[in-house]
Subunit: 249 residues, 2 copies
């Protein structure tokens, strides 16, 4: 197989914000805004560039002038959506001082609430992760790795500095594991609302989410953490001692 990857379609030119003139920038922003709603509501394919233009009362050609292609437009939408999310270390100090896994817990619980207030960016990120072309997906991954919008790398360093994460493995490996599993787990959690049936059903969702989150974090801690699963046992006791003890021991 000499040329396995040789015949992939060449990625189209994504028009970036080359020369951000003031007037132009405002318009770009309005377009991205409207597009985000359209993509979120209808999905990537069903969203029509013409509709977006119509909603804004501008010409379709204008949008292509700005973003080059529908893909290019979506990429900008995706970037904005993802950048609107918090970075791990944006958690409040009182949470941060409790350490790496407390921060993860904080965000997992919190995210669900934020989802309810403002589901649009979440659905956009879902679309970016599962509902686009591979070519676009490559672009998205380039963005995610260069920009690290969730600040996973810094966050993992934080965990290492505090001695909460193993220092006998590649940091890249830890970052990947955290990224992968958090993304998937979060999607599986949120997806019940965003897109029922997208993932393996995680038991009965109703009120078991919190225990499921704890279970997941325990797994993650064993996987990449240093503590012999002490801390979270304490954590767990605090929350729902009786119920969990029978389940976990």
């Amino acid at each position: 197989m000499s040329g396995i990857a040789s015949n992939l379609s060449i990625s189209p030119r994504y028009i970036g914000p080359h020369s951000p003139r003031p007037r132009s920038e405002a318009k770009r922003s309005r377009i991205v805004d409207s597009a985000m709603r359209h993509f979120a509501e209808h999905g990537y394919h069903a969203a029509r560039v013409g509709d977006i233009a119509a909603e804004l009362g501008i010409a379709k050609g204008s949008i292509f002038q700005h973003f080059g292609s529908k893909d290019g437009l979506f990429l900008e939408v995706y970037k904005r959506a993802v950048r609107s999310f918090s970075k791990y270390l944006d958690a409040p100090v009182e949470v941060r001082v409790q350490g790496f896994f407390a921060v993860l817990y904080y965000w997992l619980v919190r995210t669900e609430h934020m989802l309810r207030e403002d589901w649009i960016p979440y659905r956009i990120s879902l679309l970016g992760n599962y509902g686009t072309d591979l070519v676009l997906r490559r672009e998205i991954n380039r963005f995610l790795t260069t920009e690290d919008p969730y600040g996973t790398v810094a966050f993992v360093r934080f965990g290492l500095d505090r001695g909460e994460l193993r220092n006998d493995m590649d940091i890249e490996m830890i970052v990947s594991i955290v990224d992968w599993t958090m993304e998937r787990f979060q999607d599986a959690l949120l997806t019940a609302e965003l897109d029922p049936g997208l993932f393996r059903r995680q038991g009965e969702m109703p009120e078991k989410k919190e225990s499921r989150i704890r279970q997941f974090l325990a797994v993650l801690q064993r996987a990449v953490g240093t503590a012999p699963a002490i801390q979270e046992r304490r954590e767990i006791r605090k929350v729902a001692p009786a119920r969990l003890r029978t389940k976990l021991l």
Copy 2:
């Protein structure tokens, strides 16, 4: 947000093999075959139904008669590709007797070789995972959970029976974790060939793959396994003690 998930486009009718007449079945198969090659070579969007028909010397309408839509066709292609992969427990006995993680190791190493001989189904599964519409993705997930084509559930049971996996967590949770991380890790490994740049670069790939596989399995074993992670600590030291220490401390 009362209706977060209410406005998703309705999934199209996927025409299944309703009444598998002999003649018809053979033709379906030829179509799926050709389509698989086309999708693999050009990606979902760039592959054209017309081309597939032309290659087979049949009318385009015929394909739609059989599969209803391009999505429907892809779904069949995806199913065939995935079904062509081995199940975990298909590993040879001498590997199986060594246990759960030996089987995982066996497949991770092996898969790479198989990829070289026959990359097409692998690329199809990559497309299914990252390069299609959300609607289609939902269909794919339904297939994966109902059919469990890799036999993950049985395999996890196998691990539980042997006492290699923790019995204090939901089996569903273990299955999910194994599925998620194996898929992602495998994609990250194989993707260097299949679609460079799709994932975070995993260090220098050349000959370190094996050590990376061991490192990954160690992580997984800590996460869901019972054994106190003896085997892999030895491994890690062997690989690059100096560099890692300086890099991480």
